[in-house]
Symmetry: C2
Subunit: 391 residues, 2 copies
């Protein structure tokens, strides 16, 4: 049965407000030490109390976003504030970098040689600056953004050894996180330098898109060239779909109409190559030449690529008016709701095998927190509400 | 049908000498630059030419071991020598540490903040010292062994940040690799210090064995205590089975009869908890309290735990005379030969899903090379030959 726009909206609202948000409000808040529990079993009981900084920052952003854009009387600002207080108090090393993980009490466990801990810290600060009007948070967000930019340009400062044979190209994640941070920051901060960084990052992102092969690569060489190694052949369809909607947001925000057809192509190709025709769902990783991917988990079906696909296809339909994107959306929604939803308890599973059966009964972990699901659902709800208003 | 000792010996000889060794001789040697290709597809074609140092060192060891213990006229010494020449020329950083990976030509790609690149370098040097009588190789092995020992005692020298919340217990892998290196080195080098290190490592290993719970933990606290975190609850049954036969070798070598019952328990418990009663095969990882393991691949069936189980169960039977270990061996052999062997091409698959179907059609990769399979088969062949001679 085809679900119409209105009943889709109802479905997503119910899923977001009656299922996902209450699960995290009930089980995800550490009311003793602050911050969030994310390693939660099927019923919401923590199986680890460690605090992973990507997910701490993302949860702050998500609760603050709900406060800013949905309702100011649901207590979401407090839930965001206590998380921000925790990461501002414990989350940064003496040199200003963000840790990767903390104990429940806030002692640092690990720091990555990557920039992403910092990225989600910037997101948290920015959305909280928007929620509270705090100039202090915005200053910190800005300062950390430029630190991330510097670290990205000089990876040796992250402690990553750059040896003569080390791959020196770009990873798709990097331009994407800059576009993502700027989407948030530029709303509050009129610094013209964001435009130059945006242009650079769009340029870098598009190097990963290969119209000749109708696909998107995770890693390309320094000059944007294809590199015939497992790393150079790697594709991550869910990641490409996330990039597609980042580009569509940018197109709308900055009047970059030229980006629309590029983004739509990415949706087409990612669904074409990434969708498992036998068992359904999006593969996690693929090798563009059909070689064996190095990742053991390559054929697993994860919640987050499905979340990115959910929103990217709906937005592609909204922007283009082409019904095939709505059909793709239906396919994604149908598979996701049949396989990722847990009939016995709230929140979705995170990890399924190729056939779509859960390999883990957890609802959150070191990588799955209060972020991809509620973000995708919120964005779908907001899109459908805008359309309903226009109609 | 029950396979008898004699036909088992025939089976393993065929598998080792007609299947596995020829595959690596034919496809695994880089005759242009030296060293080994390990990223090989189903039919032996390289899908990456990068050289992973764990596997380079292991392949040197394996070819040299075949030369030393099986036949001196099969060209195996040359195949080992060209690998050792490659890693001696390109494999070590200016500070003496071993790299993790090199390009085909020998340029360093990556260095890990772990000691295992060095460990397999020591193994390679030692077995080649034995093969050639080279005092130079033995000196290098010895020097590198003590470097590894120092690095293990001062992990900060590896560049791993030790932060206030960082887990400070022991990982089972660490005492195991020291026992493994000493098993080789002590054959050639009468340094009494190995005995003290052995005692220390046996003591550390046995802290991971928990008779109260009938299981073996991968990580325990500094005082050997159970740590109730995902890391502390982690089990890796294949790894525990590998430790069991290390301990049985040590018991035999050093007259440590007290270790025999400890090792046999480990075999029992690992097969009891690690074997998948629904689909067969050994799980890769488990949480000892049944919580969701953090590893996405936890329920996959890998070739190497099956290889460790193959030899550990056979050796347990040989040492104890108890028929239940031969039954376990039968179960392991039957499942391994049915699922890991490729009916279409030589060498075994490396990675199966929980049901035992291949997720990757590769025969080698960044972690699978010329090591676990031929080592397990050689050890089984040698054991069965010794028994046949005695009978």
């Amino acid at each position: 049965m085809r679900i119409t726009g209105t009943s889709l909206l109802g479905t997503y609202r119910t899923e977001l407000f009656d299922n996902v948000i209450p699960f995290w409000e009930r089980h995800g808040i550490d009311r003793e030490y602050g911050g969030y529990f994310t390693c939660l079993d099927r019923y919401g009981v923590p199986f680890s109390t460690d605090k992973y900084m990507w997910l701490q920052g993302r949860a702050v952003w998500m609760f603050a976003r709900l406060h800013n854009e949905v309702a100011r009387d649901r207590g979401w600002l407090d839930l965001a504030q206590q998380g921000l207080d925790f990461i501002r108090r414990f989350g940064r090393a003496p040199d200003g970098r963000a840790y990767f993980s903390l104990t429940r009490e806030g002692l640092p466990i690990h720091i990555q040689r990557k920039i992403y801990g910092e990225v989600f810290f910037v997101m948290a600060l920015t959305e909280m600056a928007r929620a509270t009007g705090s100039a202090q948070y915005l200053d910190e967000a800005r300062e950390l953004f430029w630190l991330v930019y510097d670290l990205w340009q000089e990876p040796a400062r992250l402690g990553r050894p750059v040896l003569p044979g080390t791959f020196r190209g770009t990873a798709l994640a990097d331009p994407m996180v800059f576009l993502c941070m700027i989407e948030e920051l530029s709303r509050l901060d009129a610094d013209r330098r964001y435009e130059a960084v945006t242009d650079r990052m769009v340029d870098l992102s598009l190097r990963h898109v290969r119209p000749d092969r109708r696909l998107v690569l995770e890693n390309v060489g320094l000059a944007g060239e294809f590199v015939d190694t497992p790393q150079g052949r790697l594709m991550n369809p869910g990641h490409a779909l996330e990039m597609a909607w980042f580009l569509l947001h940018l197109a709308r925000r900055a009047g970059r109409d030229d980006l629309v057809p590029r983004a739509l192509e990415i949706v087409d190709w990612s669904m074409e190559l990434g969708w498992d025709r036998e068992f359904g769902g999006l593969y996690y990783f693929l090798d563009c030449n059909g070689q064996p991917p190095m990742q053991l988990e390559w054929n697993m079906k994860l919640w987050w690529p499905m979340c990115e696909a959910l929103y990217a296809t709906l937005l592609a339909w909204d922007v283009s008016g082409e019904s095939r994107y709505l059909q793709m959306h239906e396919t994604v929604r149908d598979w996701a709701f049949r396989h990722l939803r847990d009939p016995e308890a709230p929140e979705w599973f995170g990890y399924l095998d190729r056939r779509g059966e859960p390999t883990h009964l957890l609802k959150g972990g070191a990588w799955k927190g209060f972020f991809h699901m509620p973000r995708a659902l919120l964005y779908c709800v907001q899109l459908l509400e805008r359309r309903a208003t226009r109609e």
